[in-house]
């Protein structure tokens, strides 16, 4: 309870309350995330249950009764008669799952390697950071595509569909760890020079205790900011890969997959199949991005 109280009276919360951008983006992000998590409860239809689909419902316009069946769909239906609103909820679930999982993967990998590089120094540091530099000179999305291509080449053909989501997570995670590693290493190097670390050595703390108990708590802010911004980037990366056809398979469509499908109907006038998933993706990415930007300004960690 005292912790809650301390949080509510903190500068952090005070600044949050006074920033409309932060409040709106936090609210939007929370609504989107919660509706994705509880999609099975909210969605009016189960788009992946072929039994519940009626082909006659195909291409229903939003908010208008279907000319054959008379059913009304909020955001319309696609060619198969699937409710667009429901596919968006389920698609967002996959987009968010891939985004969060790949950021978590990148975070664990990047923070560990960054701390290791900073604490060990010398050759270990040089090798890790040289590797990071080389990778950083290529755009993350390219790295993700390459990893995806290679992983696809390695997985047996009959498993490709099943493994696609996990391959996607690893591809995006591997393309993003460098951000964490660089920032953590940079901040840890700065912290390591500080006199409180010397004091900790003097009282008999070992290197691991110093890294985990003294240095890590002082760089959490940087990691949090990078994680938030990375989440937006990961969601966009996933959508991009899926849009390009090298991501989530049609059996498990993410927002990117839905946009890829919808793009085909743009010229024939069925705009809603494309626009609603695209709008959702934009709202999700923008709200997380705004939140990250606000966090960066408030926590003001030194990021390069």
């Amino acid at each position: 309870m005292t912790r809650m109280h301390a949080f509510l009276s903190s500068d952090f919360f005070w600044k949050f309350k006074r920033s409309p951008v932060a409040i709106v983006s936090f609210t939007v992000a929370m609504i989107l995330i919660l509706s994705a998590v509880f999609a099975p409860l909210i969605a009016p239809h189960d788009p992946f249950n072929p039994g519940s689909l009626n082909l006659m419902n195909g291409f229903s316009k939003p908010m208008e009764p279907n000319q054959f069946t008379g059913d009304t769909f909020w955001l319309g239906t696609d060619d198969q008669g699937r409710d667009v609103f429901s596919t968006i909820l389920y698609g967002m679930r996959i987009s968010l799952f891939v985004g969060v999982a790949s950021v978590a993967f990148a975070l664990v990998l990047g923070v560990s390697l960054g701390l290791l590089a900073a604490m060990a120094g010398g050759r270990t540091d040089a090798i890790i950071m040289r590797l990071a530099d080389i990778q950083l000179s290529f755009p993350a999305i390219l790295i993700a595509m390459l990893v995806f291509g290679i992983a696809k080449g390695i997985t047996p053909v009959h498993l490709r569909e099943e493994m696609a989501i996990w391959v996607l997570i690893i591809s995006i995670g591997l393309s993003d760890w460098v951000q964490f590693a660089r920032v953590v290493r940079g901040s840890a190097m700065v912290e390591r020079q500080k006199e409180y670390v010397e004091a900790a050595i003097l009282i008999g703390r070992g290197p691991i205790a110093i890294a985990v108990r003294h240095i890590l708590p002082n760089i959490v802010a940087s990691v949090l900011v990078i994680a938030t911004i990375s989440l937006a980037l990961a969601i966009i990366a996933e959508a991009t890969l899926s849009f390009l056809g090298v991501g989530a398979p049609p059996t498990q469509p993410s927002l990117g997959t839905l946009i890829r499908i919808g793009q085909g109907y743009l010229f024939s006038g069925e705009w809603w199949i494309l626009f609603f998933p695209a709008g959702t993706l934009l709202a999700l990415a923008l709200s997380v991005n705004l939140l990250g930007d606000w966090l960066r300004n408030v926590l003001n960690p030194k990021l390069d």
């Binding site: 080389i134 000179s137 991009t240 090298v246 946009i259 793009q263 010229f267 494309l274 705004l290 930007d293």
Partner: protein
């Protein structure tokens, strides 16, 4: 200074070797080349003979060396999917990508620097706030969505510009250019904006933050205290100091444009190497993937070197000694 550049060249060389190793490992271990070359009707003897001919029984280092030797001579293997030498396909497609990248790079740098300087000099204006808000939306919009949006507005609704392809092209030697025909130029506009927009926002934000920092520095305060004009302070003292860190990152960004072209080329069905690459990933065409990786890294390394040299030219601290 010569030493500095020499060391950079050496480093670039190691980077290329490392990337080459990755590319080679892809060739060698992802999808057995023998499987790909021999049909279903094959004997163990056929396999062994082919392994020998292809040098697959040689030690790893020897194979790697041969791979590098071939790559330097332009032999990048044969595409699994098209059955043609990868080098031929690249030469055919490279001009389209390079022209697109060049135009969007110019767009990104010019607009990015101008907007960045403007927003740094007028931090409180309404236009600045508008630019910054739009740029944040821009960063959150995936490139492919920007492309689709532009197509919808300018091609589908207004019908002003083509939605796909390069338009008419002119052949100059082996180079095909779309820059010399009206339809070619028109076809370039939407893809170039799509591709450049993201880099532009990044450059703008970078220029803005660097310039803001420089404007707060002691030597700018001292210049003010000496009564120099705003014009001299902003455009003589501040800009040059801003550009040093900007050059490095911008250089890297420009390298990324070529790679980001993959997405734009897919949206606009632009017949460049990016479209080729994404097809190769979809169909696991390893030789094309590996060669693309090599090609991109050669370009990155070249850009990096140019950036380093520029750096030395601008910054006297590097030009003089190299005791930094």
């Amino acid at each position: 200074m010569a030493l500095y550049i020499l060391r950079r060249v050496l480093q670039s060389f190691f980077v290329l070797l490392a990337v080459g190793l990755v590319a080679f490992s892809m060739f060698r271990f992802v999808g057995d080349p023998v499987d790909n070359l021999l049909g279903q009707e094959r004997t163990q003897a056929d396999i062994e003979r082919l392994r020998d001919v292809l040098g697959l029984n040689d030690p790893f280092i020897v194979q790697y060396w041969n791979f590098l030797k071939d790559a330097v001579q332009g032999d990048l293997g044969v595409s699994f999917r098209q059955g043609r030498p990868v080098m031929d396909i690249f030469i055919e497609r490279l001009p389209a990508t390079l022209e697109l990248a060049l135009i969007s790079a110019i767009f990104a740098v010019v607009v990015g620097v101008v907007l960045g300087v403007y927003t740094a000099l007028k931090p409180k204006g309404w236009l600045t706030n508008l630019i910054l808000t739009v740029s944040l939306v821009g960063v959150s919009l995936p490139t492919f969505l920007i492309g689709i949006l532009l197509i919808y507005v300018f091609a589908v609704e207004l019908g002003w510009l083509p939605s796909f392809g390069r338009g008419e092209t002119v052949q100059i030697g082996w180079w095909t250019t779309g820059l010399l025909t009206g339809s070619g130029l028109k076809a370039l506009i939407l893809p170039a904006i799509t591709l450049g927009l993201y880099q532009m926002t990044l450059i703008m934000r970078l220029v803005r933050s660097e310039m803001t920092e420089v404007l707060g520095s002691d030597y700018i305060r001292f210049a003010r205290a000496r009564g120099l004009t705003d014009r001299s302070i902003h455009f003589r003292h501040a800009i040059k100091n801003t550009l040093i860190p900007v050059i490095t990152i911008t250089g890297l960004q420009l390298g990324s444009i070529i790679a980001f072209a993959i997405i734009t080329e897919t949206v606009f069905q632009w017949p460049g190497v990016g479209l080729l690459f994404i097809d190769s990933v979809r169909f696991v065409d390893i030789p094309v993937m590996a060669s693309y990786l090599m090609m991109i890294s050669v370009m990155f390394v070249a850009i990096n070197l140019i950036v380093d040299i520029l750096y030395v030219i601008i910054d006297p601290r590097l030009r003089a000694g190299e005791n930094t």
